[in-house]
Amino acid sequence: MKKILVLFISFVLFASNVLANSGNVVIVTSFPKDLSGQFKAAFEAKYPNITVEVVGKKTTAGIKYIQETSSNNGTDLFWASAPDAFEVLKGDDLLAKYTSKVEGIPDLVGSYPINDPQGFYTGFAAAGYGMMWNTRYLKANNLPAPKEWIDMADPIYFGHTGMSAPSRSGTTHLTVETLLQGDGFDAGWGKMKSIAANFKTVTARSFGVPDGVNSGDFGVGIVIDFFGLSSIGSGFPVGFVYPTVTTLVPANIGVIKNAPNEKNAQLFIDFLLTPEGQEILLDPKIRRLPVNPKTYAKAPKDFPNPFKDSSIGAAVKFDVQLSKGRYNLVNSLFDVMITYRLDDLRAAMSAIYKAEAKLGNSSNAKAKKLIAEARALVSALPITEAKANDAEFNKIFKKKRKKAKDIEKYAGTRQAEVEAEWDKFVIDNYSNAIKKAEEAIKAL
């Protein structure tokens, strides 16, 4: 026992010199150290008397942290990608207005406004979704690199692709929503499911996708551009492309209400937008799209420039209000139909692929009809577009604790109840699709 005690005390003495701290601007951020560390160093070099305290947390944990600590706030800035995270904070009255004095920043990137129109948060970099692939993996499996979303629905990619769930990652959500708005609700989900049927996995973390592609665990992943671009920058044998239908979204920063160091917080926002701040974004380990168009002059040769190349992120006029209204419902629907039932979906699609392969160029009408029916079963939705956009129905899915009087029309309906119904619908359809596909094979 004595030895343990001595060991223990020496641990304590050894480490107790660590615990002194000081801080002049406290930032809660979801950004990795590679990004935040560079800005911290550059900012402190410019303003030597200000110390930047960076606290990294996942976006959801960061929101939670700021909400739970608001009674006694010690945070100056929230700094993260997804605009909807800022919408949550804004909705809870936890952000303070600030409009930067830095000039030369356009209003839009792609078709998305860079800054919050009400001035509660400021965009400092842009990002859009695309596809990244592992070149060694594709070569070993004789696969071409995809160019458009629909390429990923090709049977050749069966079991070779991956994506993160929209409920896990705000930016993935935007991709799904973009697809739904670009192709229409029903057709968009149909396309999403035929892409998803090829997934090897739906990762729980958004970084799980670039991780998997970088390791060669799967060949192609749907990722946000900077994951792809920074993986290339770090030397991994991977490639990245934007499809035509994508949305560019700003990554943001906002001052927290009652910030202890408000002046310094505003100074930090200004710094992000200055040419020297924007150039940091071009670092090979970061690679995000600057919002200051002039910065692109210093970018590497093949770096995408959304202010010049109008094809990036302009195909869809993204409706922010529509997206916001059905945000949680879309997440839930994705999880019920795809994330939690991926095995069933894959089994159904694989049966259909088999039937289609056997069908080939034959003109067997009965088999064709059966296969079409099977595909229709797979893409069928347990909910109509009208209901999905119904503000009353969406109240069931609100993040805040729902009170019966707030729900009115659907009072008493619980989210878990709705999801159980959807689940049953989806499972039945997938297994019926398998039966149809097998009938089709028999008919051939």
């Binding site: 030895k3 343990i4 060991l7 641990f11 050894f14 480490a15 660590v18 615990l19 701290n21 406290v26 990795p32 150290k33 960076v54 606290v55 990294g56 947390k57 996942k58 959801t60 944990a61 939670k64 600590t69 009674s71 006694n72 010690g74 060694r136 769930a165 409920s167 996995t201 739906v202 729980a204 970084f207 970088n214 390791s215 060669g216 665990d217 799967f218 920074s230 920058g233 770090s234 030397g235 991994f236 044998p237 991977v238 380990k285 994330t339 939690y340 993040k399 604790r401 009170k403 019966a404 009087k405 008493g412 619980r414 989210q415 878990a416 109840e417 999801e419 159980a420 689940d423 049953k424």
Partner: protein
């Protein structure tokens, strides 16, 4: 009268500690599961749980995975424990220490290392595919979860079983031998029954840990299990979604039931041994052919269970490792980041050693109170402490923020929840069950007659603790310390909620922040490996202490 007062006030103190730092924060979050949309009490949410096919399937899957993991983990642990503690086996201390390492799997980076090795395009499958044209799905689906979990958690069985075996009184075996028992009969009738408390302690920990584990299913993207369902619902639908907590409540209830069943399994039997003369069993020599076989088995198991750490080492020295058997090239560059940020390592050492120390002290008293006294509500202490296993770290972290954020520290007016010592407390609470199971198992093997005779000779409770129990329980206490300490070094889910400044953040947090970028893989792995090394050295040292103690006692007995 004094001794009763002392024990009662200790029980009260521990009860209060658990109430404030475990029950209240959990209640802050969990009561949501019993509320309907109007905020009235309801059981409807539980009805929803049993109506939902996905939840039922998840429950079944979790149960299946946890049970099968116990089986597979036993297959890994039994030979290692048996060969090294029953035979004269060269390097048994090193083997026992190495066998402990799999418990320390750094978050995220451990997962990446496992996939690079065992994944469908990991090193092993690439080789298999090249040479033989087939692949083995180590990491796919529920079987993948069982495989990874049993590699990860089998040390729980190993360490408790070894402690148990070492505690078996040599005279028991000698008397049996002198009565003509030998070989398998001896093993079955003496060794096996006497080591049961340790095995059951370990096996129940494996079951509980796997049943509640979140990390592994998430890493393998298996969502249809209870813990991931709870986590996914809480973190995506929102912190106030009742179903997430309904699942949480069900996890807790099942865990308590498992502890209860483990108790029943040992119930009614007396595992205590009066003498503590020649510590541990007689170590025998192998027959020559047995020796080679034993070494082969031991090394094969060690290789298998340590392979994730071999991959981790490669990752920390590798440049780019992608769709290939080995990294493209090697470098020491990643370790630069570690030495530039050594504050994380210091923090981890400080936090985890204090937390583990608190755990051992609490566990000692709880197991004493539960097994040796008749204080009312003593079982409750055990159950509440154990239920910490089943509380998702995220939930506990949020509970702490809710409970302690509005209280300010008296000396500098910062919130209590952001004080670094709260990280220590949350680590201690989360790891208490490990120390508790270890202490329980050892105390069960010590006969209470030893204490009673000391008492009848007029010894005070304190000197009984100091002179009898603590020396006899050293192995178990150290085992508890090491388990708590080392698993705390890689704890992330609860602490991440409480970290308020980077300068006070632990190692696991550094790994987390590096592992969010493509370029951060190497430094993340380097941090992970450093963490593993710290734990390995600590484990080795304490194994040496245990070994030395038994040897000493063995000598004294001979004299």
């Amino acid at each position: 009268m004094f001794k009763n007062l002392f024990l009662k006030s200790t029980a009260l103190f521990i009860g209060l500690f658990l109430l404030i730092f475990l029950a209240v924060p959990i209640f802050q979050v969990f009561y949501v599961s019993f509320l309907d949309q109007n905020g009235h009490f309801t059981l409807l949410n539980f009805y929803d749980f049993f109506q939902n096919a996905l939840f039922i399937e998840s429950f079944y899957n979790s149960f299946y995975v946890a049970s099968m993991s116990v089986v597979l983990a036993s297959v890994f642990a039994l030979p290692l424990a048996y060969f090294t503690s029953r035979f004269n086996f060269r390097g048994s201390v090193i083997i026992q220490s190495l066998g402990f390492i799999p418990l320390i799997m750094p978050p995220f980076v451990g997962a990446v290392a496992m996939k690079l090795l065992f994944g469908s395009n990991g090193s092993i499958n690439l080789i298999l595919n090249d040479w033989f044209g087939f692949k083995i799905p180590f990491m796919e689906g529920l079987n993948g979860v069982i495989f990874v979990e049993s590699i990860h958690y089998f040390p729980f069985i190993l360490i408790n079983l070894i402690t148990s075996l070492n505690n078996i009184d040599r005279t028991m075996e000698e008397s049996a031998q002198s009565l003509g028992s030998k070989g398998f009969g001896l093993f079955r009738k003496i060794v096996l029954p006497l080591s049961m408390p340790g095995y059951v302690a370990g096996a129940s920990l494996v079951f509980l840990k796997v049943f509640d584990d979140l990390g592994t299913p998430l890493l393998l993207d298996v969502n249809n299990m209870l813990a991931p369902q709870a986590y996914l619902r809480i973190s995506s639908i929102g912190i106030n979604d009742p179903m997430g907590y309904v699942i949480g409540v069900i996890l807790v209830l099942t865990s308590i039931a498992a502890v209860y069943v483990a108790k029943l399994a040992l119930g009614g039997k007396d595992y205590s041994m009066l003498q503590k003369g020649g510590g541990g069993m007689i170590k025998r020599d192998f027959l020559p052919y047995q020796k080679y076989l034993a070494y082969f088995v031991v090394f094969f198991i060690l290789f298998l269970v340590l392979s994730p750490h071999i991959a981790l080492t490669l990752l920390s020295f590798g440049t780019i490792w992608s769709f290939s058997v080995l990294p493209d090239a090697f470098t020491v560059q990643h370790y630069k980041a570690v030495f530039e940020n050594s504050v994380f390592i210091k923090n981890t050492m400080l936090y985890c050693s204090i937390a583990a120390f608190i755990d051992v002290v609490l566990a000692f008293f709880i197991s004493y109170i539960v097994l040796r006294t008749k204080i009312i509500g003593r079982q409750l202490l055990d159950y509440i402490a154990m239920s910490a296993l089943a509380i998702p770290g995220l939930v506990l972290g949020i509970g702490y923020l809710r409970t302690f954020y509005s209280i300010n520290l008296p000396w500098d007016n910062t919130p209590l929840a952001s004080w670094w010592f709260m990280i220590v407390i949350i680590l201690a609470v989360r790891r208490l069950p490990y120390a508790l199971r270890a202490c329980n198992a050892v105390l069960m093997q010590i006969s209470k007659y030893l204490e009673e005779s000391a008492e009848s000779l007029g010894a005070q409770k304190i000197s009984i603790f100091r002179k009898i129990l603590i020396p006899l329980m050293t192995g178990g206490l150290l085992a508890g310390f090491i388990t708590s300490f080392s698993t705390a070094t890689v704890e992330l889910s609860a602490t991440i909620m409480l970290v308020s400044t980077e300068s006070e953040a632990p190692l696991a947090y550094a790994i987390y922040s590096y592992m969010q970028t493509a370029a951060g893989r190497g430094p993340g792995a380097a941090f992970g490996l450093i963490g593993v090394l710290i734990v390995a050295v600590g484990t080795y040292l304490s194994q040496l202490i245990i070994e030395k103690k038994y040897k000493q006692r063995g000598m004294e007995a001979k004299v």
